[in-house]
């Protein structure tokens, strides 16, 4: 699933480690989500959305709408 986590993180000048600590996950998890290797669960996606104060669909792109 495509996402703009990297851009949002860069806008806040956060490293992957900073974001991982805020989400209480490993840096490896943040890296896997950012690169699209892993799709987060709904609870984690909501946590990410709440952290960035954005709706989920502004962070993650639905696979059916990626074109």
């Amino acid at each position: 699933m495509l996402n703009n986590l990297k851009v949002l993180r860069a806008m806040r000048d956060w490293s992957q480690q900073d974001l991982a600590e805020r989400l209480e996950v490993s840096r490896q998890s943040v890296n896997a989500i950012e690169t699209g290797k892993y799709d987060p669960s709904l609870p984690l996606a909501f946590r990410i959305a709440e952290l960035f104060e954005l709706p989920i669909e502004q962070i993650f792109t639905s696979p059916s709408k990626k074109d």
């Binding site: 996950v25 490993s26 840096r27 490896q28 998890s29």
Partner: protein
């Protein structure tokens, strides 16, 4: 410590452990090292498990693959591994030094197997306690690869036994085979810890 430096440190400790255990074992088997000193040296070489596990933890932390559940797992597995070496050698020594009856042989077998059961328990607890969903999903995938590998090898080898074309192997080989499968699972996943 950087990713590369911690990986190298971890690699060196793995090499030291393998050289220590296999080296002293080979010297003992070749009668170059003899007597109780050789046994003590051989058993003492297994203490290298402690720095090896700690170096691996540092390497994992440097790559961002760390969690409190993983730390607890490493500690449990390290204790079980050391207990396994001690109890296995104690059981074998008692079996050779005495002529144990059926009941004692059953007890000795259970004593040798007990630490392995604790290793399996440590793995189960890791899956239960890991709060990081990505790390947990990777562990589950690796476990499935390991299980598939074990079942495939066991089925194939079992039929080789059926047709009398391979020597019988003790069933305890299942656990190390599963662990090899876990390593294959990590490679298949492109695990950065590999």
């Amino acid at each position: 410590m950087t990713d590369v430096a911690s990986s190298k440190s971890s690699g060196w400790w793995v090499a030291a452990f393998l050289i220590g255990t296999f080296g002293t074992g080979a010297l003992k088997a070749a009668d170059i090292l003899t007597g109780p000193v050789s046994t003590v040296l051989f058993l003492a070489s297994f203490l290298l498990i402690i720095p090896m596990v700690r170096a691996n933890q540092r390497a994992m932390a440097a790559r961002g693959i760390t969690s409190s559940a993983m730390t607890r797992y490493s500690r449990r597995f390290m204790v079980a591994s050391l207990a396994y070496v001690a109890l296995l050698f104690a059981s074998l020594w008692i079996a050779r030094a005495t002529d144990p009856g059926l009941a004692l042989r059953v007890i000795l077998a259970m004593v040798a197997a007990l630490p392995v059961m604790f290793m399996i328990r440590a793995m189960a607890l890791l899956l239960k306690e890991e709060q990081d969903e990505y790390l947990r999903s990777r562990l589950v995938s690796q476990s499935l690869v390991a299980t598939g590998f074990l079942l495939t090898v066991a089925t194939l080898y079992g039929f080789l036994n059926t047709f009398d074309v391979a020597p019988r192997v003790d069933a305890w080989a299942a656990f190390p085979l599963w662990a090899i499968g876990l390593g294959i699972g990590r490679l298949v996943q492109g695990d950065p810890a590999c």
